[in-house]
């Protein structure tokens, strides 16, 4: 699946939902919000690229090819 790719905001604020990759400002993220407690991020909040996510027993790391790595 190819995620929609958009340039990040100048201030680096989250523009995209890390669960579904859709613009964060769009309505309809209730399910994503509920899911977030038991899901690592899947999409880069800055550009919506699908991230490479590694879950281990006690945490996770998520890597965007453009915006680098974040972890729990």
């Amino acid at each position: 699946m190819t995620a929609p790719v958009q340039e990040p905001a100048a201030d680096g604020a989250a523009q995209f939902c890390d669960q579904c990759g859709a613009p964060a400002a769009e309505p309809g993220h209730e399910r994503c919000a509920a899911r977030r407690t038991l899901e690592p991020p899947r999409f880069c909040p800055q550009c919506a690229r699908r991230m490479v996510v590694q879950v281990d027993p006690f945490g996770w790391t998520a890597r965007c090819s453009r915006h680098g790595e974040t972890h729990s």
């Binding site: 699946m1 899901e39 690592p40 899947r42 996510v53 590694q54 996770w60």
Partner: protein, 347 residues
């Protein structure tokens, strides 16, 4: 194998229905003989009002035939995503529009995860790969990983690498892998609705090879995938026939982008009835709470399950999703006065 058509004429609430608890008390609790497929179906059809009694009986059975110890395990994904198979529940299939991308873990990270797992008191560490079966690259990575873990950490190493050839089974046994997980996933009669790229019988064959090689057999599945109660009972009987050392019980956590992504989650009472019924079908097995318990049962579920037939847990996160904090489960075991099974008891 055909789907059972129930012979029961009772409807929920009929007095006949609760007789199954009396039968189970004598047959399973007293004699240690698991329930048959038809009896499991009766249990699965018990009304919610009987649930507390059912869970109490399942707990008594577990205490009588397994003891109070709880086996604690951590799992890790060595190779995530990109699997060529089409298991309809799985976010790691490369055939669906799931957001999970392929990733490989290196050996130092594997060892670190094993160390952290052992610190919780866990005695099991299971290395999992999203594959149809291992290729040479994966077998090499597993060999290096198992050796490095055994050098650094006092923990049993299990693997789950899909379907195996006889040679691969031998090699894993020689590496010192003590248990192999390969889930049958669901009843034989329902399997074609869940997976079309391989058969239930192919999975069974791997399990046969694993047993023959002297490794412990870990085999369970996922409930709540649209199977009927009859098929849930059928699956319990098929697992009982296999006599696995461990049965991990997962509850469907509908994954976005998968064919089962829009299925309803199973209800809490149904999940607990299934736990208890599977315990009554397999009084001596290690029955492990696996994925989906958090969303199906919430925080209370761990306690209800551990007091309803469960005697093993996966602590911390799963392969691609997050679990309850490990400390929450470990604290709960302390509160319930259920000791963590020690390493020497599992060897």
């Amino acid at each position: 194998m055909s789907i059972s058509t129930t012979t029961l004429s009772d409807r929920p609430g009929d007095p006949g229905r609760s007789d199954i608890l009396a039968v189970a008390r004598e047959q399973v609790l007293e004699r240690g003989e698991g329930l048959t497929r038809e009896q499991v179906l009766e249990v699965l059809q018990l009304p919610d009002e009987s649930l507390d009694d059912l869970l109490a009986l399942a707990h008594d059975v577990r205490m009588r035939w397994c003891g109070p110890e709880v086996e604690v395990e951590g799992i890790i994904s060595l190779k995530t995503g990109g699997c060529p198979e089409d298991c309809h529940f799985c976010s790691q299939s490369g055939l669906f529009a799931s957001p999970v991308r392929s990733a490989w873990l290196d050996v130092p990270m594997l060892v670190e995860a094993a160390k952290q797992t052992a610190k919780t008191g866990a005695t099991e560490f299971c290395i999992v790969a999203a594959v149809r079966g291992p290729d040479e690259r994966l077998m090499g990575q597993v060999a290096a990983g198992v050796a490095a873990i055994k050098d650094a950490v006092d923990i049993n190493v299990a693997c789950s690498l899909g379907m195996l050839t006889p040679d691969q089974v031998t090699r894993l046994a020689e590496m010192g892998v003590h248990r192999y997980n390969h889930n049958l996933e669901t009843a034989r009669s329902y399997f074609p609705n869940v997976v079309t790229t391989h058969t239930w019988e192919e999975r069974w064959e791997t399990l046969r090879l694993v047993r023959e090689a002297g490794m412990e057999v870990c085999c369970g599945g996922i409930v709540g995938m649209g199977e009927t109660l009859e098929q849930r009972a059928e699956f319990a009987a098929q697992l009982a026939e296999l006599t696995p050392d461990e049965v991990p019980l997962n509850f469907l956590n509908p994954r976005p982008g998968t064919p089962f992504g829009d299925l309803e989650q199973m209800s809490g009472p149904d999940a607990l009835r299934t736990v208890a019924a599977y315990r009554l079908a397999m009084p001596r097995t290690v029955l492990r709470f696996a994925g989906g318990r958090e969303i199906t049962l919430g925080d209370l579920g761990a306690r209800q399950g551990l007091l309803g037939g469960i005697n093993a847990v996966i602590v911390g996160n799963y392969l691609t999703t997050l679990g309850r904090p490990a400390e929450a489960d470990i604290d709960l075991l302390g509160e319930l006065q259920m000791p963590i099974k020690a390493l020497n008891e599992t060897l």
